[in-house]
Amino acid sequence: MTPALRKSPVATLARKELSILFNAPATYVIFVIFLLITGWLFVSPLFLRDLSSLDTFLQPLPLILTFVVPALTMRTFSEEFRTGTIECLATLPITDYEIVAAKYLAAMGLVGGLLLFTLAYPLILWLVGQPDLGQTIGAYASVVGLASFYVAIGLWASSMTRNQVVAFIVGFFACFIFYLVGQMAELFPGGIGMLVRPFGVEAHYDSLARGVLDSRDLLYWASGTFFFLVACLASIHSRRWR
């Protein structure tokens, strides 16, 4: 058969990847734990302190996602390496960057699905009050940016090993370091804190979550995501040369 004109396989790969991720029981366990924690963070101030704000859910999110995102992405490459299916993928007419792009899109789809459930919180606020729509949209844009950055880190961590647990630990620590940099910036002496703080996620997350749309924040999420996806690609390449 004459090879047909090639169309991008990213969507096909991403769909398959997403269906595998949604078929994994661990995915649902992580979903339930995440929703229980965030649900409690949102609901308890609402009922116990009469405080109707998304902040109680949004502020701890950079820390919560340091666990949740690597847990959702840990199998993406490591499982392919463990079972050998990477050989199947890599000998199909697909480039490595298409594989990485597909896995990124699938993981974002999964995290997006998880975040969809949290839309219940702003909807509840709409029922009991008049929250700022712009701020809510900004907050979710910020969460998506953060999730994208963590997903890229999770994919990179997964591409480094055939062991899912190791992938989770590496991914968690990498995300946690970016979380911690922002938290610890004030502890650095002199102007070092000012220099270090922009590298952490907190500075970029906070301003967008307040509804302030700054191109530097968007650039941070985009460039961070891009950097770790390229690192992931390099990691996959390097496995073949070993």
Binding site: M1, A4, K16, I20, T83, T91, P93
Partner: protein
């Protein structure tokens, strides 16, 4: 169709493939034989573009495997040694997914899938998850995925490995049906199946091609290493000594003796025919020859000879 030139692969200090050269013509069915660790799988992985070479080139259908990897991958069907499949997918889903990635148009995909299901005998398991398939059905599924896009070239890494004899026969029959219109390169440990199914065999040992030819030609080359089965009416010790002293005889081993008859295996040096000398000796000594049968070398003899360190003349 496949041209390999000076192909070399090193893993650190280990030389897995050592300046390998060979060509395969369209329509040939070539068996790649070799002991474990000889470099067969490394070679196949390099031909599919999965592993890069340390040195040398490989071309498939005029495309360099490493600089035009996508073009090559579109033209080959590959069944890896471990046959890795996505256990979470059902057989039909896996075929559909492979059809999309192979860019088979939707209107043709259903027909292509149904065709490979029929050819590979997967009708009974199309709805089953791959995780629940027997080893034989897994292998057939892997083969179905490999041939789904009707490639001109099939590269199969031990397709019958781990299957029971019936399943092995089924896979061999399947390859026989495919070989009429495809170039097939397959690795196997089973010399009998290479002898039956291949137009040509390449024997690889310690990363080098040590023999290349049709199973019959290699067998004839190996016949130089052959042996004679001899049954004589003669005293045992004298017969062994006298035969061992003949030019061209490398060794004489006693199989059994009964009363005045001895059964001997006479190992002959490469290229030598000692039958006349044995006949003359028997006449001179008045030892009646009851049987003298040359045993032709099988592919297995050739394989053992080459991979255990010997050389074919």
């Amino acid at each position: 169709m496949i041209d390999v030139s000076q192909l070399t692969k090193r893993y650190g200090s280990t030389l897995a493939l050592d300046h390998v050269n060979f060509s395969i013509q369209p329509g040939e069915v070539v068996g790649l034989l070799g002991p474990n660790g000889a470099g067969k799988t490394t070679m196949l992985k390099m031909l599919t573009g999965y592993l890069p070479p340390t040195e040398g080139t490989a071309r498939v259908d005029q495309f360099d495997v490493f600089t035009h990897s996508l073009e090559v991958r579109q033209r080959i069907g590959y069944l890896p040694e471990t046959n890795p499949l996505y256990d979470e997918l059902a057989v039909y889903e896996a075929l559909q997914w492979a059809a999309r990635l192979r860019a088979i148009p939707d209107v043709k995909a259903a027909g292509a899938i149904n065709h490979v299901i029929a050819v590979c005998g997967l009708e009974a398991v199309v709805g089953k998850d791959i995780a629940h398939l027997s080893k034989g059905y897994r292998q057939r599924t892997g083969l179905a995925i490999a041939i789904l896009h009707d490639p001109d070239i099939l590269i199969l890494d031990e397709p019958t490995s781990g299957l029971d004899p019936n399943q092995q026969q089924e896979v061999r029959q399947l390859i026989q049906t495919l070989k009429q219109k495809k170039t097939v390169l397959w690795s196997t440990h089973m010399l009998s199946e290479a002898q039956q199914s291949c137009d040509r065999v390449l024997i690889i040992n310690r990363g080098r091609i040590v023999a290349d030819g049709s199973p019959d030609v290699l067998g004839r080359q190996g016949a130089g290493l052959g042996r004679l089965v001899l049954e004589l009416k003669a005293p045992q010790a004298a017969a062994v000594e006298a035969l061992g002293a003949l030019a061209g005889v490398q060794g004489v081993t006693m199989q059994r003796s009964s009363e005045s008859t001895v059964h001997l295996n006479v190992e002959c040096a490469a290229g030598s025919d000692v039958r006349e000398a044995i006949f003359a000796l028997a006449v001179e000594k008045r030892w009646p020859i009851l049987q003298m049968t040359p045993e032709s070398a099988t592919l297995e003899d050739v394989f053992r000879e080459l991979t255990l360190g010997g050389k074919i003349a």
